[in-house]
């Protein structure tokens, strides 16, 4: 309890300050960690490692969320950067570090082991920082993600390989669970197939049942259960939990409950990741740093420089845009959280001696702490050099990156028409609907609909409210619609809001709440019908058309006039009467008469 209090307090105090100063939340957490850590205030006990281990689950959840955003097709599109860029990054960095190790006179086994471990970067820090800066959909973001993904996969063979480098023979992972190599491979294959097949076939009906109970906490529990279950399964077969949940995420990316899942997992991920960053900060061994400050800082610098060199060379080789090359490089030049895991693994298996791993852990932690700073340097001083260039080549990026432009809340009779007409014209929409049965039915017709209550901010967030251009509130529950509008006004002021109003009073309320455009749901169809009635009673179609046009214009002005009166009923009544009279006069006099006059004028000499 006390520990939780300290951690939360540290986060609550330092993160807003760091954000204020433009340093980003990651740096805030790290600083908070060092401050409460054993080497400064010493408010947390020496069990930081245990906490870190627990908090690493935040990384697992993050990869699940990343997977949810990546449809399999998208992942397939990324195969070149993942294998090419990611593969080369790991290989080249390993080679360079090993060479340095050899030069410094270490045995080749030690050099190679350290090289392999240091080739990894920090998925947690990079993704979190890039997300916060809105860089994930840029070229740099996509490529950085590809590299990180490859590294996460590479951890698995590393775990298998590292024991071979041991000075004294030891058991490898596979044999540690009592299986031979090919049996182990089979088990892994089964586990992954189970995730894919289960995710495809079982989860949809399961979620439907859960959703129909309308108990939110049960849905939350299911989501957590899913992630934890997969993590356990992966642990059991000796795979990285992060990788497993990532695959599960990808499998579920097409699922209509995707946004709801995102919304449920997101807060847990955020908290755990924060905890993780704090524990990284707290675990920085300042005793070691104080004993040999120059050596440690020199190593940090060397680590960053070597990675930097490899990254920028690869970015150029893979022809990223110039400005993106630097963002990519600055983002990935650090050691990662897996380094901690692997270093403790290697010392346990006597692959690397304590006196090598202990300082390196400090070096990695420091390099992670420097990353947000490096990204700020990039942002403030490097990127401005490319501004004009960026403007030119960024355009195509924003058009087809698949980010949704329009969120439609409510997929009833109204929302469906809006959605169909928009998507047929090439606009990308994300639709949210609360009725599970309705979704099931609509999916049969091939609609892309997501389950969830749009008046929840987390869900709007998961649906992309940050990046969407506008939101259409098409639900018929007026109170709920107002709720959505209020949330958007507070959290997403950039969103243009379009609302379906059932009548004048609702329109009035929408206007007051800050809706940009509202349409009375029955107004236009009723006028349309009435136009056809007039025509079939013998009025010329164009006259009927213009009569209705006038009516519509005047009536809409009338509604706007009434809206301007803030609530005074006496004014309201007199205004209504005035408007009615005006309407009658205008419709009676008829603009045709004016034209007749016009006709006469042309005949005068």
């Amino acid at each position: 309890m006390y520990q939780a209090f300290i951690f939360l307090l540290a986060a609550v105090v330092s993160v807003p300050i760091a954000k204020r100063l433009g340093l980003g939340s990651v740096l805030g957490y790290l600083l908070a960690g060092t401050i409460i850590g054993p080497y400064a205030l010493g408010l947390v006990g020496h069990n930081v490692e245990g906490i870190m281990h627990f908090a690493e689950f935040g990384v697992v959840m993050m990869l699940f969320l990343v997977g949810l955003e990546l449809r399999p097709a998208l992942l397939w599109q990324m195969r070149l950067p993942i294998l090419g860029l990611g593969g080369l990054q790991v290989v080249l960095t390993t080679v360079l570090f090993s060479a340095i190790g050899l030069l410094l006179g270490f045995a080749w086994q030690t050099s190679l082991a350290v090289g392999l471990i240091l080739a990894l970067s920090s998925t947690a820090i990079v993704l979190q920082s890039m997300n916060e800066k809105g860089l994930m959909n840029t070229e740099a973001g996509q490529n950085a993600f590809a590299v990180l993904l490859f590294q996460d996969i590479a951890v698995i063979p590393m775990l298998a390989l590292l024991p071979l480098l041991a000075m004294t023979p030891s058991s490898d992972v596979a044999s540690s669970i009592g299986l031979s190599g090919w049996q182990h491979g089979l088990v892994v294959l089964c586990a992954i197939s189970a995730i894919i097949i289960g995710g495809r076939l079982l989860l949809r009906p399961l979620f439907r049942i859960i959703a129909s109970t309308k108990l939110r906490e049960i849905f939350t529990a299911t989501a957590l259960l899913l992630v934890i279950g997969i993590a356990l399964l992966m642990d059991l077969v000796g795979l990285s939990a992060a990788l497993g949940t990532f695959i599960a995420g990808v499998v579920l990316a097409d699922n209509e409950y995707r946004h709801e899942l995102e919304a449920e997992i997101e807060p847990f991920k955020g908290l755990l990741l924060g905890l993780f960053f704090i524990s990284v900060g707290a675990s920085i061994n300042f005793d070691l740093l104080m004993q040999e400050p120059l050596v440690i800082l020199g190593l940090v610098l060397a680590l960053i420089l070597v990675k930097f060199t490899v990254l920028i060379a690869l970015a150029k080789l893979f022809k990223l845009q110039t400005s993106q090359q630097w963002t990519f490089t600055f983002a990935l030049a650090q050691g990662g959280e897996f380094c901690f895991v692997l270093f403790s693994f290697t010392s346990q298996h006597h692959i690397l001696p304590e006196h090598v791993t202990a300082p390196l852990v400090v070096v990695v932690a420091l390099s992670m702490a420097f990353t947000p700073l490096l990204m700020i340097i990039n942002e403030r001083w490097v990127q401005p050099m490319f501004v004009s260039q960026q403007d030119n080549d960024q355009l195509p990026d924003t058009i087809d990156d698949g980010v949704t432009q329009v969120i439609i809340a409510g997929f009833g009779r109204f929302g469906q028409i809006v959605d169909r007409s928009l998507t047929l014209n090439g606009f990308s929409t994300t639709v949210l609907e609360h009725n599970a049965a309705q979704i099931e039915y609509l999916r049969k017709f091939g609609h892309k609909v997501f389950y969830g209550d749009a008046s929840r901010q987390e869900l709007l967030h998961a649906a992309g409210a940050d990046t969407a251009k506008l939101l259409v509130v098409a639900i018929d529950d007026h109170e709920k619609a107002l709720e959505i509008v209020r949330i958007c006004k507070v959290h997403y002021p950039h969103l243009k809001l379009f609302a379906r109003a059932s009548g004048r009073i609702q329109a009035h309320e929408f206007h007051k709440a800050g809706v940009d455009v509202f349409v009375r749901e029955t107004f236009h169809s009723a006028l349309n019908l009435s136009e056809q009635v007039m025509t079939s009673l013998g009025l010329h179609a164009y006259d009927a058309h213009r009569a209705i046009r006038n009516f519509r214009k005047l009536d809409e002005r009338h509604v706007r006039d009434i809206i301007k009166l803030e609530g005074d009923t006496k004014d309201y009544v007199s205004m209504s009467q005035k408007n009615r009279k005006e309407l009658e006069e205008v419709l009676k006099s008829d603009i045709n008469d004016i034209e007749e006059l016009e006709d006469m004028q042309w005949g005068e000499k």
Binding site: H540, A541, Y542, H545, E595, E596, D599, Q601, K605
Partner: protein, 178 residues
Amino acid sequence: MTKILIIYAHPNPQKSRLNKQLAFAARTLDFVTVHDLYQHYPDFDIDVAHEQALLDKADVVVFQHPIYWYSCPSLMKEWLDLVLHNGYAYGKGGDQLTGKRWLSAISTGADQSAYKSDGSHGHELDQFLLPFKQTAHYCAMTFLPPFISHQARQLNDAGIQQQAQQYKTLLNNLYVQL
């Protein structure tokens, strides 16, 4: 059995004096189809395929409309813009109107003397019709001498009936020549 198609463009047909009567007279002829554009497309959303199907059946196309600002009412311009497209009326493979005849049946507000170089409109009416004439030529149609009713609003009932009779006679003659 449409032989003559009248594309009738009047935005205010119920208030019309002359054109209304001309259209009425034309409708009594069984080889004539009067196609009221503003009745069909009050929202200006022209069904191009439907229009082209009507044209296919006709040998003579009459454009009947009042002169508005030395040109046609706007829906007729929209009609020309959309219906006479490349590959149909002109350009590669665009020979669907070849050999058909174009008659402009036009009413004006001003009298004939205003359409002189020293009159208030400064030019002969023919000169204002040049865009239509060239449109017809570009679509390989024959541009017939236009049927003009001057000072339409000043005509009395008898004058209008006389004009309608002449219109009918002209349409009859065009039909006989086919």
